[in-house]
């Protein structure tokens, strides 16, 4: 009875922790006035292919229906939402603010922690706002969401892909060297960049910090686009500082994400002890036009499991409530119904148990109160917690007999 590679079960106490994170994120999305949408788990493959770059298209699970229409499990949510907006929400007034918390699927050859074949993404799309205000909104919302989850020491790097284009142009690269250099910037492959014989490029690939870097980039960038992008990065730094995020937001000119996808602003969030990014996002102004709706868009998302890993790694995962069940009821439907109506969580005891057995059951589950109906009489028993508090065991299943 084995599971396929890269997927997992969620036991009650594990799922409770995951749901907790999802609830916090949903609450933050709601406070920023984003409305949740849902799209199908699978789409026509041509939709996925149209929206995504090669990188993610190649990772998608593909299959056919009985008429041989190519289908794919969604490898992320931005493309399905772009399809949804450009087909069903064209009349909706802009800007649109949409959010999602949903599973996504990627065919990783070697699934690993934080890189599962089925995972949960939570994120938002801000559609129809071309300006730096929208970039700032996504960045500050991500910071607020991560803070709320308990990651107040997370730091954020920002960049703009048009600045990278401006630097490459400014140092005199052209032709096939441009995509090559961009890939090497993204990987921060300094050894590779050195072979292009542009020392300034290496300097920028290693540069990370505040406004002084923007000043240096202004001297290299010649295009109007890249100068405008530098203005926007500077604005983001100023606004971050004003919000008290000054020492948590830095410019990293080598920060690039999926190259076929992002057209401008890009950011990622990091924790000091976790080796992978916690969340990330950016601007993808060319995505919706691919579906025939000429509007800009910016968004961010986080891997819920990755956040959970990060929290558990630092022993800070959101702990369970003191008790999950409020009252244990024996033999009284009316009482049980009244308790539920009062908003309490009620557990039914099997009938015919004596008081000692009921107390033992209540202790086992950390239930503070028992209501017993016996011979037309109703009495309540307060249960003191057992001297030793049992913590939920880890998720490792006990050894079962060999299959």
């Amino acid at each position: 009875m084995k599971l396929p590679q890269g997927v997992r079960d969620w036991l009650p106490h594990e799922l409770a922790r995951k749901r907790n994170i999802e609830q916090v994120l949903r609450a933050v999305f709601g406070r920023w006035s984003y409305e949740e949408v849902q799209t199908p788990t699978f789409e026509r493959f041509d939709v996925i292919e149209k929206g995504l770059g090669n990188e993610l298209t190649e990772l998608s699970f593909q299959f056919n229906d009985r008429r041989a229409t190519m289908l794919a499990l969604r490898p992320e949510l931005t493309t399905p939402i772009a399809r949804l907006v450009s087909t069903r929400m064209r009349e909706a007034p802009l800007p649109l603010r949409l959010s999602y918390v949903a599973t996504a699927f990627r065919y990783y050859e070697q699934p690993q922690e934080g890189r599962m074949r089925e995972f949960t993404q939570a994120g938002v799309e801000l559609i129809g706002s071309p300006g730096v205000d929208a970039d700032a909104e996504t960045l500050f919302m991500a910071i607020e969401a991560c803070d709320e989850i308990g990651m107040k020491d997370a730091t954020y790097d920002i960049n703009d892909s048009r600045v990278v284009d401006g630097i490459l142009d400014g140092v005199g690269l052209s032709g096939s060297d441009v995509p090559l250099a961009k890939t090497m910037m993204k990987e921060r492959n300094i050894v590779g960049l050195r072979t292009l014989d542009k020392p300034v490029l290496v300097e920028f690939a290693l540069r990370r910090g505040g406004r002084e870097g923007i000043g240096k980039a202004r001297k290299i960038c010649k295009t109007k686009d890249s100068q405008a992008a530098l203005d926007r990065l500077e604005t983001l730094l100023i606004r971050s500082a004003a919000l008290g995020y000054g020492d948590r937001v830095s410019v990293d000119f080598a920060l690039l994400r999926d190259l076929d996808y992002y057209t401008g602003f890009i950011f990622e969030g990091y924790l000091p002890e976790i080796g992978f990014p916690l969340c990330g996002g950016g601007r993808y102004d060319s995505l919706l036009p691919k579906f025939g709706y000429k509007v800009p868009a910016v968004g961010w998302s986080a891997g819920v499991e990755r956040m959970l890993i990060a929290l558990e790694r630092r022993g800070k995962h959101i702990t369970r409530r003191k008790h999950r069940v409020d009252v244990l009821v024996s033999g009284a439907d009316v009482v049980a119904s009244r308790e539920r109506a009062a908003g309490n969580t009620v557990r039914y005891a099997s009938s015919g148990r004596n008081e000692a057995a009921l107390i033992a059951e209540a202790r086992e589950h950390g239930i503070p109160r028992i209501v017993i109906a016996e011979d037309g009489e109703i009495r309540e028993v307060r249960v003191t917690p057992a001297p030793e508090k049992k913590l939920p065991k880890t998720s490792t299943p006990r050894k079962t007999e060999a299959l």
Partner: protein, 208 residues
Amino acid sequence: MLTIAVPKGALYEDSAACLRNAGIDVPDDVGRKLAVVTSDGTQLLFLRPSDVPAYVEFGAADCGIVGKDVLWETDRTVSELTDLGFGYCRLCVAARRIDRYHEGAPLPTFLRVATKFARSAEAYFAERDLPVELIPLHGSVELSPVVGLADLIVDLVATGNTLREHDMVIVDEIAPSTARFVVNPVRFRTKYDELIGLLSRLDGTVKA
């Protein structure tokens, strides 16, 4: 404080010397220890060279030293910050001298290639449209043509002594390899000042 993955084996002495030149107090004799903390608080992990990328990708080590030959064979995402210059060797296709492949003798139809570098070998033969049967081995690759397991081998050649001892010759050179200083891409950001500092000291030792 940084945690640095240091390869054991052929690259160890040069790696230790290079880190010492960069101001890290690598102890002279680490004996059989798997990890030590130096007097300046840096943690050093002594690893099998092929394990270095995994430690760095997951952030168990912030950075490390590893041969380019190991990076060719891994999917692990690490950033290559500098070429340390030592540990030079070449990945080569080699065969028995008497088979005369190095003089252009026709290769057999069902070509068998033994190697520890399956990915690099596969890419090399695929680029040349040569159908081959790859035989991934873990050691003593030069024995395989001698006993008839393979027609060719793909292996690292440093001095060429091992090939000569088995009366083998280089048929083609695939690529040169040297030791690289690699970092975890996220750790580069969260420990930027420390890693940039170490990088510039390492670069200083390379140029000197």
